[in-house]
């Protein structure tokens, strides 16, 4: 059974650390990072800047400013009235998203190339990466179970766990575009996850490319794009391979995307691509009775259940989503129905309460193994009981004695990962 963390890691959430470090591929990781919002760490969605010049996703900064009226980066005083669209950044993000997959492949290829001479021999590397005891997050099992394709050893070695030059790191395995086609559903799956994918009846571990799942339909749209591509290739057999369920879902989706549903609501949908659309003003909920807020929600076609606080919260969130949508390039804007769905999905996730741990001793006992691993991972460079790398390669400061399993895909040279940690989690 895959844990919740594995599921989340398998969602293909991209990060700039997917790229090798600057020593291996100068500037790429920083470049990817430069196009990401400091609040959500996803690529800028409807980027806007404050008077100080710092840039954020419109929705992110609109949620942050009510908490504190200052720039999250430099703490200069800030307000929503300062927000201006940054069109150039929006186009840069758009272009980078299209290029990222390819560049990432090149970057990882470069990393492998640079790391090769360090290794004694490739077949040895495979052994060490397979026998890596500290690997975590279920990747270990996944990789072991994965069938070795009947190709030459060398090919198998290089891809799933590329040995990095000493001290450097490789991105999470889930982002390595080492794809195979699933023999059942014909979709792309990471070769390391193909078995898990098959075990899940082709439902999980689909490779979604590097498209960040920023919107609700991120995964959906990449799937339907795939379908479109297939139908281009086989114009005669349009949709024949698509399971009936998926087809239904697609149709219903296009329906909601159109304005059919909007008409049944209290207000007809405005044309979201209209360039002259203006931001909605904020509302002082305290001075309005519940009834009035309920009316405001109804006017926007939103549900009106819940107490006054819930209504106010819903409406405030609606304003954030609506106003952020206006900050998108008119051609990239979502329909109002899409925004309503987004709001609904957010509410469905619910407001989880923070967990509390009362019995500190019992908690530490229960998580003894975890803490032992974390301690070893954090241990600063020291002559502790660790068998050092035999290659005698200089090791970067503070980088040597880390649990390689912690940094998924960070592969130390052979012999480096021999850390005596209690692997059994009680």
């Amino acid at each position: 059974m895959a844990s919740m963390l594995d599921d989340l890691l398998a969602q293909g959430i991209t990060d700039s650390t997917d790229f090798p470090d600057d020593a291996t591929t100068p500037g790429l990781r920083s470049f990817d990072d430069a196009l990401r919002c400091g609040i959500c760490r996803d690529f800028y969605d409807a980027p806007v800047s404050l008077a100080c010049g710092h840039c954020f996703c419109s929705a992110c900064i609109r949620s942050a400013l009510p908490e504190k009226a200052q720039c999250p980066t430099c703490r200069k005083e800030a307000s929503e009235s300062q927000l201006r669209r940054v069109v150039a950044v929006e186009s840069a993000v758009h272009a980078w998203k299209a290029a990222r997959d390819l560049i990432l492949r090149f970057a990882l290829e470069e990393e492998r190339r640079k790391s090769r001479p360090v290794l004694p021999s490739l077949s040895q590397t495979r052994k060490s990466s397979n026998g890596n005891h500290s690997e975590r997050l279920g990747q270990k099992r996944r990789r072991r179970d994965s069938p070795l394709p009947p190709s030459s050893d060398d090919e198998i070695v290089a891809i799933p766990s590329s040995p990095a030059p000493s001290g450097s790191s490789t991105p999470d395995i889930s982002s390595l575009p080492d794809l195979v086609e699933c023999p059942v559903c014909q979709k792309d799956v990471l070769s390391s996850k193909i078995n898990m994918h098959l075990d899940s009846s082709c439902k999980k571990y689909l490779f979604e490319g590097s498209t960040p799942t920023g919107s609700n339909t991120g995964a959906e749209s990449s799937k339907s794009k795939q379908k479109q591509q297939w139908s281009h290739l086989f114009p005669g057999s349009k949709g024949k391979n698509v399971p009936a369920k998926a087809k239904d879902r697609d149709q219903s989706k296009t329906k909601t995307k159109g304005k059919g549903k909007g008409k049944s609501r209290a207000t007809p949908d405005v044309d979201v691509t209209d360039e002259s659309l203006e931001h909605l003003p904020k509302v002082a909920y305290d001075i309005h009775p519940r009834q009035r807020i309920s009316e405001m929600l109804a006017e926007s076609g939103l549900p009106t259940h819940g107490d006054k606080n819930a209504l106010a919260r819903r409406h405030a969130r609606w304003l954030v989503l609506y106003n952020a949508n206006i900050d998108r390039d008119p051609k990239q804007r979502h329909t109002l129905d899409h925004l309503r769905q987004e709001l609904k999905a957010e509410e469905a996730e619910g407001r989880t309460k923070k967990e509390t741990v009362d019995d500190v001793v019992a908690y530490q006992k229960a998580n003894k193994g975890t803490f032992a691993k974390l301690t070893e991972a954090a241990r600063p460079k020291k002559p502790i009981k660790v068998k050092k790398a035999k290659e005698g390669t200089p090791v970067l400061d503070g980088d040597e004695v880390r649990d390689p399993g912690l940094a998924e895909g960070r592969n130390s040279p052979a012999g480096h990962e021999v850390i005596d940690v209690d692997d059994s989690e009680s």
Partner: protein, 180 residues
């Protein structure tokens, strides 16, 4: 579908694992990403000075365990951070909660787990005696450095023990403190 908060925490995890600051590690519970365990090594090393035979980095080598709890408001609101290891520090309460400005009024949504843990690590070395959470530690820090260091070193040694042994020690020490 995961919320913004969960996606952010996954990215925090990727960054913390790929580029961990020295002496720091942390990871979410496998079945609950809103709950993180972390370990901080007490700062020491490079800028260590020895005054009157006492090193001014008393927390050095301590392996302090922490628990971070997040809710859906992250990163607009800070997580709750608590030491699991027993601490003797001017800004750490007896229950392990800490008094740190960036976890309260100086929070910014651009901070991530790595930034939080780094700040806590440097707080160990640079306490702020003006907002004491542990009055005794604050007083000793100001007036009796030697005794302060002695008490801190005791918690450092305790931090190396198993939780069971720690529990036993805690009972002992609370007994002696009461006797004093």
């Amino acid at each position: 579908m995961s919320t913004n908060c969960r996606r952010r925490l996954i990215r925090d995890f990727k960054r913390l694992s790929t580029d961990p600051p020295g002496g720091i590690s942390g990871s979410p519970c496998p079945d609950n990403i809103m709950l993180w365990n972390a370990v901080i090594f007490g700062p020491g090393g490079a800028n260590r000075r020895v005054v009157d035979g006492i090193a001014d980095t008393p927390f050095e080598d301590g392996t302090f365990k922490l628990l971070l709890t997040f809710d859906e408001s992250y990163p607009n609101k800070p997580p709750t951070v608590k030491f699991l290891s027993r601490m003797f520090h001017p800004n750490v309460y007896a229950n392990g909660e800490l008094c740190l400005d960036i976890l309260q009024n100086r929070w910014s949504p651009t901070y991530d787990v790595a930034a939080i843990l780094t700040s806590i690590q440097s707080l160990l070395h640079d306490p702020n005696p003006n907002s004491p959470a542990n009055a005794e530690a604050a007083q000793l820090y100001r007036e009796n450095m030697k005794e302060y260091v002695r008490r801190v070193r005791a918690t450092v040694e305790e931090s190396w023990l198993d939780p069971e042994e720690q529990a036993a020690m805690e009972q002992d020490s609370s007994g002696t403190v009461g006797a004093e």
